[in-house]
Symmetry: C2
Subunit: 156 residues, 2 copies
């Protein structure tokens, strides 16, 4: 039974948001959003990976539609688009429970960890207000070296 398309928890919200713009709730759109829900909040996927994961789950969705749907879901606020360097953009679920969060990226192996920080958000807000910008969201990308890669350096 777990073979069937995962039903997005956001299903209702998604449908309403779509209909508001005269758009439609299609199986493909449910599958893409469902995949992110299934994987959980901390997962970062590229368009290619979304496409591949859906194929593995017996869901044929064309790559073009994956691209179109990802952009739609970002515009609608269901996904966030990440730019953590190295090879193409990635996407993650935008959960309301978990507001702005930030990324530690190991520049050697690409391992990525997330964290939250109220002081980062405050600092961003302060800087924005200072010149009259209205803050929407902020993302801190920290380029760093993870413990394993630090050890590799020593072992060399």
């Amino acid at each position: 039974m777990s073979q069937s398309t995962p039903l997005p928890r956001f299903e209702g919200t998604l449908e309403i948001g779509l209909h508001k713009g005269g758009r439609r709730l299609t199986p493909q759109r449910r599958k893409v959003l469902g995949l992110f829900e299934d994987k959980g909040a901390g997962i970062h996927l590229s368009a290619e990976e979304v496409h591949h994961q859906l194929l593995k789950a017996n869901s044929r969705v064309s790559l073009a539609t994956v691209y179109r749907t990802l952009r739609l879901l970002v515009d609608m606020g269901f996904l966030h688009e990440l730019e953590l360097s190295e090879g193409g953009h990635r996407f993650e679920l935008a959960s309301n429970d978990q507001p702005d969060h930030h990324h530690l990226v190991c520049v050697r192996c690409g391992r990525t960890e997330e964290f939250e920080s109220e002081s980062v958000i405050q600092a961003g807000r302060a800087a924005a207000e200072k010149i009259g910008f209205k803050l929407l969201e902020s993302t801190l990308n920290v380029r760093s070296v993870c413990p394993e890669c630090q050890n590799d350096d020593l072992a060399k």
Copy 2:
């Protein structure tokens, strides 16, 4: 006289760094770095723009070489690579006077402002150390709406 290739202030450092790796100081490399110095520290250029600006300045440097040189200068630490969403990567001069700084990006018009914040850096460092990562640098990208675009909303 101002027609000649601008001489990078980093010229010496660049040459030394290059020679350390058996590499060479070529006119093209001086021109690319010189362009960023000429434009100043707050300027963000794409590879295509660098190429175009050099042509305008009567400096024929092939686009392929621009790409190769940008990557080289990033690896050597003379430039920083930015990922502020929307259309391709951009590069900016990495000045020692001006360590980690952050970007406010208007999501409507793309206007970008820079700021610095000690508390952002502290928060990034704290998060990194907590899980054993060694911090290299951090960049906060704040998606926001600039005053002009806020006014446009009201005027609508």
